[in-house]
Amino acid sequence: MAQFEIKRLIPIHLFGVDASFTNASLYMVIAVVLITSFLIFAMGRRSLVPSRFQSMAELSYEYIANMVRENLGEEGMKYFPWVFTIFMFILTLNLLGLIPHTFTVTSHIIVTFAFAAMVWITVTLIGFARHGVGYLRLFVPAGIPIWLMPIIIPIELISYLIRPISHSVRLFANMMAGHTMLKVFAGFVVGLGLIGGWAPLAFLVAFTGLEFLVAFLQALIFTVLTCIYLNDALHMHH
């Protein structure tokens, strides 16, 4: 479908690698500029009684800060900038894609897989840095009988290794399925014409509202799961 096509805007070839500036790169740059200017503009004239923009910025900041504090405790707050960046970036990319004729960066599996792999590698490195080889105890839950070990350990190992896949596929599949469904119903509107086209059009409007919820929810779930994985690495509760 045309909306998922990647176009090269500025072709760049470095040492045989295609590093072109595509429309995906353009939308990532737009997202970064939007987030930065929003936060700087909103917090530029700070006042005790916040303006609308200031309260929007404070709301998003406090929401993620509370989530990090609940999941990771006070010592986890040093990872807050990282988690907040992930949340704002994915949320902005999801919402940008809902504007007609724009490109949804998060509807490409390679982009979300890069996000998830970044989270997974970081979390694993933090775990090994904090606990050393003892981090491997994560795969051996406490209090289970010894004869269950040969079954439990492979299961735990697989569920740990599959994390980047499930983490990325969730975001990608939700965004792609939503946009495909909008496209299919838009086709119904055109196909049924002036007489019958109003019913799918009404559904389309309602479904676009639902897509806004999904865009927010998927960014939130990605962030919550990042916090949970980070919690595994910081405090091994097994």
Binding site: S166, V169, A177, I221, V224, L225
Partner: protein, 74 residues
């Protein structure tokens, strides 16, 4: 049977994984609501757990969808 037709049928069958995801997500939100109706003051604290359960239930169904996409376009 032609390969192309078999591929289409296989992709359709792979999408049936979404049945389980639908049942699971409905279960989670239904139980959350019935719990929240009984004790509304405890509901906001469990919202994060609700989202985790939702995400985990959905992921299994989406694996099926992914298989369907791989069959069709892979």
């Amino acid at each position: 049977m032609e390969l192309e037709a078999a591929k289409m049928i296989g992709a359709g069958l792979a999408c049936s994984a979404l049945i389980g995801a639908g049942v699971g997500i409905g279960n989670i939100f239904g139980n959350y609501l019935s719990g929240a109706m009984r004790n509304p003051s405890a509901a906001p604290a469990q919202f994060t757990n609700l989202l985790i359960g939702f995400a985990l239930a959905e992921a299994t169904g989406l694996f099926g969808l992914l298989i369907a996409l791989i069959i069709l376009f892979g």
